[in-house]
Amino acid sequence: MDWTKIIWALLLGAMILFLWPRAKQMLKHSPKAEKGDWQAVLLPLAFVVGFVVLLIMMV
């Protein structure tokens, strides 16, 4: 097996271990979304999707 794959795997494993407690804490303590909050996120993200599709068509 390629040695770089092993190093990448160790690195990704370390990142998962590092982020896991933070993610758990954030999932528990993040403020809950109010009405219209997700809509305010999905709208710009839909623009990003459209824009990326446009870029793909350009190259």
Binding site: T4, K5, I7, W8, A9, L11, L12, G13, A14, M15, I16, F18, L19, W20, R22, A23, M26, L27, K28, H29, S30, P31, K32, A33, E34, D37, A40, V41, P44, L45, F47, V48, V49, F51, V52, L55, I56, M58, V59
Partner: protein, 223 residues
């Protein structure tokens, strides 16, 4: 001074400190991006070997996890952030060289750079002007990042081009969400240190660029 005056004075002070934080963050972000572009150009011309990317990622992670949090409140933090961003830029050399060697490589790299800039400015501008609080996305984004890391781990051992494309598409969406989240944290007092705010936004831009480049490179019709 009555209670109303005190409250108004505090509010003005808070707005001024938020504006100062935003100004300092965007100024430092511009300088680190320029420095990163400079080191990336240098590594392209030096034609550094492929493992440079991995070495730069490892070096940057060590600095971000262990050195930056201890130095972010002092002027040393500025040297550290330039070290991190310079290193990350230098690590881009082998990736950029691989794409630049394609027939339409310069167009792909240029489009990815311009696209990253437009997406960042659009989303950050939206979060700044709408003044919405996007802190509710924190848990969702963190969980998304962990899922992506697990998928990347699987992708190392499973040869599946569609998986790599899907990962790049998901990372682009996650980084877009993180740009909204990190900008909103500055506006609403979730982040008060401009060095930490800068590194967060820099990492979002860096990952957005790398994965947009991967997506454009894979779907450009060039082999």
């Amino acid at each position: 001074m009555n209670r109303l005056d005190i409250s108004a004075a505090r509010s003005t002070e808070s707005v001024l400190s938020t504006n100062k934080l935003i100004k300092n963050t965007y100024m430092l972000l511009s300088m680190t991006l320029l420095f990163s572009a400079f080191t990336a150009t240098a590594s392209v011309f030096l034609a550094v070997p492929g493992w440079t990317y991995m070495a730069s990622v490892i070096g940057s992670i060590v600095l971000i996890w262990f050195v930056l949090p201890r130095t972010a409140n002092s002027s040393t933090g500025l040297w550290v952030i330039f070290g991190i961003t310079g290193l990350m830029g230098f690590g881009l050399g082998p990736i950029l060289n691989a794409y630049l060697s394609l027939a339409n490589g310069p167009q792909i790299v240029g489009t990815a750079m311009a696209g990253t800039g437009i997406i960042f400015l659009g989303l950050s501008g939206y979060a700044l002007t709408s003044k919405r609080d996007f802190s509710f996305m924190g848990g969702f984004l963190m969980a998304g990042l962990i899922v992506v890391f697990i998928a990347m781990l699987a992708g190392l051992f499973i040869e599946m081009p569609a998986l790599h494309l899907a990962i790049s598409a998901v990372v682009i969406m996650l980084m877009s969400g993180l740009i909204l989240y990190d900008t909103s944290r500055m506006v609403h007092g979730g982040e008060t240190n401009y060095i930490m705010a800068t590194i967060g936004l820099y990492l979002n831009i860096y990952n957005l660029f790398v994965h947009l480049l991967a997506l454009l490179g894979a779907l450009s019709g060039e082999d």
